[in-house]
Structure formats: structure tokens, C-alpha cells
Amino acid sequence: MASKLTTSNRAGWLFALPGFGLITMFIVVPFFFAFWLSLTNQRLISPNPTEFVGLKNYEQLLSIGILELEPERDDSGAVIRDAEGNPQYPRVRSITRKNPDYPQYDGMREWFRWQSGDTAKVVVATDIVFWKSLRNTILFVLVVAPVQGGLALCLALLINQRLRGINVYRAIYFMPVVVSIVVVSLLWRFIYDGNDGLLNNILGALSFGMFQGRDWLGNADTALGSIMAMSIWQAVGFHMVIWLSGLQTISPTLYEAAAIEGASKWQTFRFVTWPGLRNTAILVLIVITMQAFALFAQIDVMTNGGPLDSTTTLVFQAVERGYGKQDISGGSTISVVLFLIVLTISLTQRYLTREK
């Protein structure tokens, strides 16, 4: 292999040069840049010289801890309870803000808490917005990757038939992919509108007025779900085409043989189609995972990360910090963390789907 690449292969290298050059310049070099910047205090605009700060940015980003809150007690030592019998706790900020007794929690904020007996366990982090972004991003990937991949496969199976006008359906399913994601996001903002959006109107009409309109993007409980649904719809056509190309590489003789053997439809799918789609499946899964981790445009256009950080994502935070808040080092740190996460997942996926 090595000899093939090195001996008398000047033309080959020459052909590869534009691609390699561009990848190096716009992907490899910027990555090393980001890694270096994450170890400094680089600002976007500043007359101050850049200083090396070591791992401070990572410490700032990743510090997380659990705080055990004892309920407040009255003079006799009994727990003070409110009208519903819930114990009363001191405010977390009284411990984490400039309290010399708890230096380890200084500057941290509450992410979430749970009860254990009368003690409240509070997860506190220096940068809760980062942790919320991480949670949202992972949730997005976990929902979008299987649902979008599965839906795309169903669509591909449906349109992989010789019917009159099937190309019209292919074109229709593919159309959202061709439209700019910004335009799609703007349109869906109108669809999700809380007052008289299309979705509320349709649901209202279908349920004969039973359905109470809701503010899909303005409610922390439904915002991320709404963006997931819209994102799945938008890119499903792209993956459908990839599945379709995979389906069409499967030899028709295999189907004929299966029919002669008397295989049912499910058996044909399970033992002919699915094994034939193995490599396509790996590709689709990896591509969707990568794209889902890079979620940005929909957030930027539709919610700006709100309400209450319920839709903020890692890439959105990287951009918001680097450009919005002029903190290039902070943005780079998030990028490096994201890179490590995606790398780990890709390697795991590769290991799990390797040729045995």
C-alpha cells in the first residue's frame, strides 16, 4: 500500500493536492489553533497581550460538584417546613457566592437538585449554561439519529418502487434539503407561533376546538422537541436518498431467490435488504450523528438558546462566546471539548460496526 502511494505517483499526489491543501488550511490548522487558543486568554478584540493560562478555561468550563443542603432548623432543632410540609432550605447563592466557608463552591450555580430524606442534593457547576448545552445536544443526538435514520429508511423503501410518477414523490421529499436551513427555520417559527400559528390552527381544527393553543417555542418544555421535529423533517430527504442508493445496489437476483424460497416480506427485508444496507447504515448513522452535534442554525434563528437555556447547544455556545461575548478562548475550549466527544463517539461507532 505504502509503495503504491510513494512510487511514481506524482500525478496522484498532484490530483490530491487541492483537496489536501484545503482540508489542511481550513480544518486541520484551525483545529490546532483552537486547541492552542483554549490554553490562553485570547479575546476577539483587545489591545492587551495574549497570555498563556494553562488549563484554566477547562477548569472554568467543567467544574461541577454536589452540594448537600441541610434543611433550616428552628431553635429546638426541628426542621422548618412550609404549608405543604416541604422542608425549607437556605438559598444556594448564600453558600456559593462569596462565602469564605465554602471556597470549593465559589461562583457556582445550581443546575438541578433532588431530595434524599430531608437533605437536598444540589448539583452545582461554575458554568451551568455549558452543562445545559451538553445535555440538550446529547438529547438531540439521541432522538434525532435513530428517528431520522429510521424515517428516512421507511421513505426510501416506499419510493423504491417502479410506479408512475414516483419521481414526483422523490422530489417532494428531497425539497426541504435544498432550501436553506435559515429559510426553513424562519418558516417553522411561523408554524409554531403561539397565537395563531399553523400548527395550533391545525390541531385546533382536528380536535374540533378541544386543543388549547400553546406557545411551542416559548415554552421550555416543548421548545427543544419542536426543534427536533423540524430538524428531522428538514434533513430526512437527504438520508432517504442515501438509503435509496444503498437499496439500488442490492442485486435483484437475491430478491428473486428469496421469492423462490417463499420468504415473507419481513424475512426478505430482514435477511436480504438489511444485510445489503450494512455499509449504508453505518454511513447514515455517522453522518446524522455529526450533523446533530453541529446543531446551530435552527437555534440561532428560532430561539437564541432560550427559553431558560432549554434549547442552547454546544456549537451555539461556542459561537455566542467567541463572537458575541468576544471570548475566543472560551469558545475554543467548547470546540475542543465537542471535538473530543464527537471523536470518542465516532471511534466507538466504528468499533461496534467493524467487520467481524
Binding site: R43, I45, R91, V92, N195, P307, K325, D327
Partner: protein
């Protein structure tokens, strides 16, 4: 022979052209109003007049869409590619001046006499940029609404108190005639939040940063006054007085005209559209006074010299030329902005005595408070915007304001105090 003469003539003509171009030094200029034809035409008239009026400088303009203007400037500054004349948004100016993207403007104080103070961008004791206009915000309503609800018309001298304002909202809510009593413009994300809403905080007695040192926000953005402001702000949304962060942008633009809202907190730039939209009895009321005076934001787009410009005196000459009352009036008539001198105001359609928008000139003169004059404002504004959005969406007021203070202070520290 003939060919030789032609060539010779051509040579002469071309050297002549070059000679003429050499006589005037070219000054490049960037402008934020790309896509707005009226605005571009007025600016081009000013530039043509200036280029024709003197022989030293020749200004060449390039326009950018406003949304991407600041990004373009920062990107080209990093690449060392700035134009000579830079158009800058008032509150951003200290940031660019501090970073060295701008240099002091050698303009004579005489040229600035009589201009609204908030149109002159000063940083570190020097003038860096000067604006041709100002913008102001007022509480839009209809006279018929005020009459129907039995409300007193507040004036500059005697604005509504916070209680009167809430009583007015309650009355509008009780009437049942409106979707919401008040439209704050929550759909306009970005600079609108600190520009339009930090004056409420200031009227309560708080601020975004402590303006005495610009090194801290503790006690200012999270003190008792700020907490009171935060509780009030949250109640506007929790109690259904105003639409929240997910407001439809279209409702923001036309909701008041369509009668969906009794009151709207909006800028003078929307005044003409409101009148054209058929709201004949629109009234522009001053901001309510929550205890520390009735306050509105100030500072709009201004012109200055970039840090790499070799001819700041040329920039100053252009700005002095552009500051003539006739141009201020032309901009005002064209795009509805408030001219920066009373003389120019008298020449305009809308801001002269008895003009439809005259009241805005008074608001700018009487209540305007510029946003914190510090390079750190750019980041503090972002933090403030997020805090207000979170509080509107129901986040704990004290925790959110504390977190905002921490973030602003961390940023100031990371920038070694921003040179104050």
C-alpha cells in the same frame, strides 16, 4: 503620423486624469445602511457635495447591511483592512477605540456647538465619533385609549409614576379590548434589550455596571433597586401584561397599529409608519418614573476615523461638512431620525414646532442617558439581554441577576479592567 498624435493625446489625457486623481487623497468609508435606498441617496449627496466642495479629499463609500456590519468591521480589523472613515454605533465606540480600531477625531469644538450631547461620542476625554442624528424611545398610545380608560396624559415635566403606569396597564387589561395591554418589543433581540429596557432599571435606581469605576456591577445590577426592577419585570409577563420572548415579529411591527396592544414601547423610527398606518390620534408618552426620574436610552450611529487611517484630518473635514443642518434635516425627513440640532429640527417635516414627532426631540433633550461608556459594554449588554430574557421566562430574579453580575465582573477582570 496620425497614430503618433493620437497616442500622444491619449498619453496626455491619461496623465491628466492621474494628475487630477492625485490632487484629491482618497478616503474610503464604510456605512451600515446597505439596502436602504433613501438612506444611501442622502449619504451619496453629502459625499458628492463634499468631493466637489474642496480639492484635498475624495470620499468613496461602501455600504453593508446593518445586521452584519459590526462583524465585518471586526473581521477586517483583525485582517488589518479597515477603511478610513468608520461608521460606528454609539455604545460600541468605546470598545473599538480601546481596541485601537479608532483614533481620536481632530474636529474643532466649534463644529460641535449646539449638538445634542448624546450624539458626540467621547471616550477617555477625547472625541472619537460624531453622529448626525439621535434616536429616542417613547410609550406609544392613542388619545382615544387614554380617554376611554380615563387616564391622565403624562408629560415630560410630570410623567406617570410606576404605580400610575401599572394602574394604566390594569385598566387596559380590565377593558378586555386588547390582546395585551403593553408591547415591549420582546421579539427584537439584540441591542434593543439594553437600549430600551436598561432605562427602566436606571429609573428604579440600578444600572448595568457601576459607572463611578466601571470595574464592578455588584450592588448595582443585583442591589435592592435592581431586585425590585427584576420582580416588576417578571410580573409584566407572569401576569399577562405583555407578550414574552416568543412574540411574533410581525405583531411587534403592526400589533399596535392593528389595535392588539394598548401601549407600545417603541422608537421614533416607527412613528412615521404608525401615522401612515392610520393611527391619527397616536400620542408619544414619556417613560414612566419608577423613582429615579424618567429615563430613555441614547446614542445612535456616528462617524469617526479608523485606527489605521493616515488622514484623520480628512475624516474630520468630512464629518464637519456632513454636520450641516441641511443634511441633518435631509436624513431626518428621509428615514425619520431625530436631527441633532434644534436648527435642523426646525427645518424638518416631523420635528419642527407642531410637527408630528416633535415630542421626541424633547425626550432626547430631556431624558436621554447614554448606555455605559466603557469598552466592556459590548459584553455586558449581551449578559444583560440574557438576564432579562431569562427573568421574563420565569427564572429566579436574585439568582439570575447575581449570575449576570458574576459574568460581567469576570469579563472585566479577563480584560484587565478595560483600560479605565
Amino acid at each position: 503620423m496620425k497614430l503618433k498624435t493620437t497616442l500622444g493625446a491619449a498619453l496626455l489625457a491619461s496623465t491628466g486624469l492621474v494628475g487630477m486623481a492625485h490632487a484629491q487623497t482618497e478616503l474610503t468609508m464604510w456605512y451600515h445602511g446597505g439596502g436602504n435606498e433613501v438612506e444611501s441617496n442622502i449619504l451619496n449627496t453629502i459625499i458628492e457635495d463634499f468631493n466637489a466642495a474642496q480639492s484635498d479629499w475624495s470620499v468613496v463609500v461602501e455600504s453593508f447591511p446593518q445586521e452584519s456590519y459590526n462583524d465585518s468591521v471586526v473581521a477586517s480589523a483583525l485582517a488589518g483592512n479597515l477603511p478610513c472613515i468608520l461608521d460606528v454605533d454609539g455604545p460600541v465606540m468605546p470598545n473599538w477605540a480601546w481596541a485601537g480600531y479608532m483614533q481620536p477625531l481632530p474636529i474643532s469644538e466649534a463644529a460641535l456647538a449646539g449638538h445634542l450631547d448624546s450624539t458626540i461620542g467621547r471616550w477617555d476625554g477625547q472625541v472619537y465619533a460624531v453622529g448626525l442624528w439621535e434616536a429616542a424611545v417613547a410609550l406609544y398610545s392613542r388619545q382615544s385609549t387614554l380617554d376611554a380608560l380615563g387616564l391622565r396624559t403624562p408629560t415630560l415635566e410630570d410623567p406617570w409614576t410606576g404605580d400610575e403606569f401599572m394602574a394604566a396597564l390594569d385598566a387596559a387589561k380590565a377593558s378586555g379590548d386588547f390582546d395585551y395591554p403593553l408591547d415591549l418589543g420582546m421579539a427584537w433581540t439584540g441591542e434593543w434589550y439594553p437600549y430600551a429596557f436598561s432605562p427602566f432599571l436606571q429609573s428604579f435606581g440600578g444600572d448595568i455596571v457601576d459607572r463611578s469605576t466601571y470595574q464592578s456591577a455588584e450592588g448595582v445590577l443585583n442591589g435592592d433597586a435592581a431586585l425590585a426592577f427584576g420582580e416588576w419585570w417578571q410580573s409584566l409577563f407572569a401576569d399577562g401584561y405583555a407578550p414574552g420572548t416568543s412574540q411574533d415579529p410581525a405583531d411587534r411591527d403592526t400589533g399596535f397599529i392593528d389595535g392588539k396592544y394598548a401601549f407600545a414601547w417603541n422608537g421614533n423610527w416607527a412613528g412615521v409608519a404608525t401615522l401612515d398606518g392610520g393611527v391619527d390620534d397616536v400620542v408619544f408618552l414619556p417613560a414612566p418614573d419608577f423613582g429615579n426620574g424618567s429615563v430613555i436610552g441614547a446614542g445612535s450611529w456616528q462617524f469617526g476615523a479608523s485606527g489605521t487611517c493616515a488622514n484623520p484630518e480628512g475624516v474630520a473635514a468630512f464629518v464637519e461638512h456632513a454636520l450641516q443642518d441641511k443634511y441633518l434635516a435631509a436624513f431626518s425627513d428621509g428615514i425619520g431620525l431625530i436631527p441633532s440640532t434644534p436648527e435642523a429640527a426646525a427645518m424638518t417635516k416631523n420635528y419642527n414646532r407642531g410637527g408630528a414627532l416633535e415630542v421626541f426631540f424633547g425626550l432626547s433633550e430631556g431624558q436621554a442617558l447614554v448606555r455605559p461608556v466603557t469598552p466592556g459594554y459590548v459584553v455586558a449588554a449581551k449578559v444583560f439581554e440574557k438576564a432579562l430574557a431569562d427573568i421574563a421566562n420565569g427564572a429566579d430574579v436574585a439568582d439570575t441577576l447575581d449570575a449576570a453580575v458574576d459574568e460581567i465582573e469576570a469579563d472585566i477582570e479577563a480584560n484587565s479592567g478595560y483600560g479605565h
